[in-house]
């Protein structure tokens, strides 16, 4: 698909992260993209799982000649790396496979990458993030218009996800205050956290708001957009489905950040067999059980609303 040079800011960036590996981030990314593309939206998926990129295999593509490696090593332009998929309105920027690690990306490269992601010619750019809470991963997450978190209903995944969101929020707060020239204040409060009773990031924000009403207004304004969209994957029971609602409540009390529990995807043997065997299933998965679930996910993300949990939240 030819990419014009015309910058288009109509495109909305979605980032899919969540901390733990193996929760199905790549599967969810490809599903969200497929659904949107089949609705006629122009979609570009970006595989940012540096070092563990496999999004292309979800579309039956071998390791393509063009990948993010060219961006980092030869300075190629991002829009030149776009590869067409079998779905007409969807294309893909494949990730780097082995030569890079997340930590080795230079600051200037990162900024350049973000600038070019924003200019990609698409209505939806969906970024598949790798596992972990590395600063570069968090920064990529934070440039998104829709910050999406995928987890499985098991304790380690939940723990990593809390950690991931906490770090993302902390980084956002620090960036905001740095932009306004208040960087030292955060450090100041943090250093004296014993005396002021600041134990976590929510306390820190509350403390800053109390002590510096002006900062409070800035933070309120800027953090209003800090909205997390939660997706539960590999759900096996009704009880699993309720976990999303519990996480929403816990995060509200813990970090004070708004969460939308946009939906869940059940555990489907066929899907996981295909993933394991690296068989492309995207073209026919829409006839399987998760089509309806994916549709609900996307519509709830677009509308920024919670899923209606069957049977009520009891």
């Amino acid at each position: 698909m030819p990419q014009t040079a015309k910058p288009e800011k109509e495109g909305e960036i979605w980032a899919v992260g969540g901390g733990k590996g193996g929760t199905g981030k790549t599967f969810i990314t490809s599903s969200l993209g497929t659904y949107l593309a089949q609705k006629g939206r122009r979609v570009i998926l970006v595989d940012m799982d540096i070092g563990g990129a496999n999004l292309h295999s979800f579309f039956g593509l071998d390791r393509p000649a063009r990948s993010l490696t060219s961006f980092f090593e030869t300075g190629a332009t991002l829009s030149d790396l776009v590869v067409q998929t079998e779905i007409e309105t969807m294309s893909l920027i494949t990730g780097d496979i082995h030569s890079l690690s997340t930590e080795s990306i230079r600051f200037s490269q990162k900024l350049k990458l973000f600038r070019q992601i924003m200019k990609l010619h698409a209505q939806n750019v969906i970024i598949d993030l790798g596992a972990g809470s590395h600063a570069n991963t968090l920064d990529t997450f934070l440039i998104a218009d829709k910050m999406i978190v995928v987890l499985a209903p098991e304790i380690i995944a939940i723990e990593n996800m809390y950690h991931f969101i906490k770090n993302a929020l902390f980084r956002r707060v620090k960036n905001i205050l740095k932009d306004y020239g208040f960087k030292e204040i955060v450090q100041h409060v943090w250093d004296r956290r014993e005396e002021s009773g600041v134990k976590n990031i929510k306390d820190l924000i509350d403390h800053l708001k109390d002590g510096f009403p002006y900062i409070g207004t800035i933070l309120d304004d800027e953090l209003r957009n800090f909205q997390i969209y939660l997706i539960l994957n590999m759900v096996r029971s009704n009880q699993d489905i309720q976990i999303g609602a519990s996480i929403k409540s816990v995060l509200m009390k813990y970090l004070g950040v708004p969460i939308q529990y946009v939906g869940y995807v059940g555990y489907h043997d066929a899907v996981w067999r295909s993933v394991r065997e690296r068989k492309p299933f995207m073209m026919n998965y829409l006839t399987t059980g998760c089509a309806k679930e994916i549709e609900t996910l996307v519509e709830n993300i677009v509308q920024a609303r919670d899923i209606a949990v069957p049977g009520g939240l009891t």
């Binding site: 209903p153 098991e154 304790i155 939940i158 723990e159 809390y162 134990k199 976590n200 976990i243 609602a245 519990s246 996480i247 929403k248 409540s249 816990v250 509200m252 009390k253 813990y254 009520g312 939240l313 009891t314």
Partner: protein, 186 residues
């Protein structure tokens, strides 16, 4: 109590303004359970939620529930002019619920407020529809004898999350007054 006053309690229970009493109850039960016991969603943050903090949260949840319940149960009774003892506007809000007399029509209003249809209640409580109607309309002559009536009232009151002792006492007072006036029923 106005809707505005209830706003912050809705926030505590994570509900939109104006949610029904049924939604309030469900949210209360869910949140209370979540912050009481260990769960895979809370355990990873155990250090962030020490006992003291959880108790504070539970207290807020409890308070929000009681206030919302009082506000939501009381307002339909007032709006419909259902016979309750004269409410004095200077009486603190939380006491008002105590002044409602749980007559048949009041019980019906509360049931409707909870979004519970006759058929749902009858199915869940294994009651006959005619019995529920007679109970709510105070067609005393159609009701069973006192011990049975008492039992049914208790079940119904608990189902509506009302104090069963008070509901039974209020209702039986009215029932006995009718019986005294109507010798044939004795």
């Amino acid at each position: 109590m106005t809707r505005v006053d209830l706003g912050r309690y809705y926030v505590v229970l994570e509900l939109p303004d104006g949610a029904s009493l049924r939604e309030v109850q469900n949210a209360y039960i869910r949140l209370k359970k979540l912050f009481t016991g260990p769960s895979i969603t809370l355990t990873p943050l155990e250090e962030e939620f020490p006992k003291k903090k959880r108790q504070r949260i539970l207290h807020e949840i409890e308070e929000a529930y009681l206030k919302l319940r009082a506000g939501l149960i009381e307002s339909p009774a007032k709006a419909e002019g259902i016979p309750s003892q004269e409410t004095d506007s200077r009486v603190p809000e939380e006491n008002r619920l105590d002044e409602i007399t749980f007559s048949g029509p009041v019980l019906r209003k509360i049931r409707e407020r909870l979004g519970l249809t006759e058929s749902v209640v009858c199915q869940e409580l294994k009651m006959r529809t005619e019995f529920l109607r007679a109970l709510e309309k105070e067609r005393f002559e159609m009701l069973p004898q006192e011990p049975f009536l008492k039992g049914h009232l208790g079940i119904f009151a608990r189902y509506l999350d009302l104090n069963p002792d008070r509901v039974v006492a209020d209702y039986l007072r009215r029932y006995r007054a009718w019986k005294d006036k109507c010798p044939a029923a004795r």
